[in-house]
């Protein structure tokens, strides 16, 4: 296999002053420097949004005229379902970054997003199932949306397993980027499955005709969607920083082992 070579725009000989603004943003060393200032504000915004969202969800929103109180499950189900697709699209964009620009930060983004996406997808299925039992009379139905979402969960888990099965993460990134892009076909299938096929699942709440729910229910839903999205952004950012540090430590250990033969270093 052809050996990985870093793209020109992050050449080691290039000094920080010579970099353009994008390189400064995306260079791993520079990323570690500027991203540390975002962690606290993002964490505080996330906590505040969850506080407001949960207050609306339990203390300031009515029962639904059909669903009753089970509508409150929607305030955690819809955000997780949204993130299950949003995270995959973020991975697909990162996959393009890996394949087209061969940028190591795109690899890092893809790798860190996969387990987060798997967790959000599992939660979407879990909460959807618990909502379905009292509303539809069943925990599960093999319809288009639910089956495609289950396939999405398996895809996430497969990608996580692939990342773990490769010692050389740079080689893994190329293969996983191709698979991620192929798997992206599942996202429009999930999105439009409720329109294409006869299904138990209700259609999208946001359409060309506007919102199909009153503001008293839409408000907590929107705030909780923002809260979960900020949670993902925060965890993704911290996870990317951690992955950079891990690769740095791994590289130092490899270098030390090759120089001294000491295999106990850094264990």
């Amino acid at each position: 296999m052809k050996k990985y070579s870093p793209p020109k725009n992050i050449n080691k000989s290039q000094t920080v002053k010579e970099m353009n603004w994008f390189d400064k943003l995306a260079h791993p060393g520079q990323f570690l420097k500027w991203s540390k200032y975002l962690i606290l504000p993002l964490s505080l915004i996330t906590i505040a949004l969850f506080g407001i969202g949960l207050w609306f969800a339990f203390f300031n929103s009515p029962e639904d005229y059909q669903m009753g109180d089970t509508v409150r499950i929607m305030y955690i189900h819809v955000p997780n379902a949204w993130l299950s697709q949003f995270v995959y699209m973020a991975m697909a964009v990162s996959a393009i970054g890996t394949l087209v620009w061969r940028h190591p930060m795109a690899d890092v983004s893809m790798k860190v997003a996969a387990p987060l996406g798997a967790a959000f997808t599992a939660l979407a299925l879990f909460t959807g199932s618990l909502w379905g039992r009292p509303t539809w009379g069943t925990y599960w139905e093999w319809d288009g949306r639910m089956t495609a979402t289950l396939i999405l969960l398996f895809m996430y888990l497969g990608l996580v397993a692939l990342w773990r099965s490769f010692d050389d993460q740079l080689r893994a990134a190329k293969l996983i980027a191709v698979l991620t892009l192929v798997g992206a076909i599942n996202i429009p299938i999930i999105k439009f499955s409720v329109d294409w096929w006869n299904t138990l699942h209700q259609p999208s709440i946001i359409s060309a005709e506007g919102l199909s729910m009153p503001a008293s229910i839409y408000t907590p839903l929107l705030v909780m969607m923002l809260a979960f999205t900020f949670l993902f952004v925060t965890l993704h950012l911290v996870g990317m920083r951690t992955e950079i540090l891990k690769r740095k430590a791994d590289a130092l250990i490899r270098k030390s082992v090759s120089q001294t033969g000491n295999k106990g270093v850094g264990k």
Partner: protein, 59 residues
């Protein structure tokens, strides 16, 4: 604010509570895992540095 009506989650309260507990458990698990992993990698790098193993650019 009507706390009484908010606490009464109707006949399907169990489904609602289990949903929220499950989401809270997994979310806290993700947060805890992210924090612990970050601390672990920082400690690895600090240990390597203590042993004098570092990149030329870090010296």
């Amino acid at each position: 604010m009507d706390f009484n009506s908010a606490i009464d989650l109707g006949p399907h309260a169990t489904f609602i509570i289990i949903s929220y507990l499950g989401v809270a458990l997994v979310s806290f698990g993700l947060i805890l895992g992210t924090i612990l992993n970050s601390k672990h990698q920082k400690k690895r790098l600090a240990d390597l540095e203590a042993k004098g193993i570092r990149r030329k650019s870090d010296k």
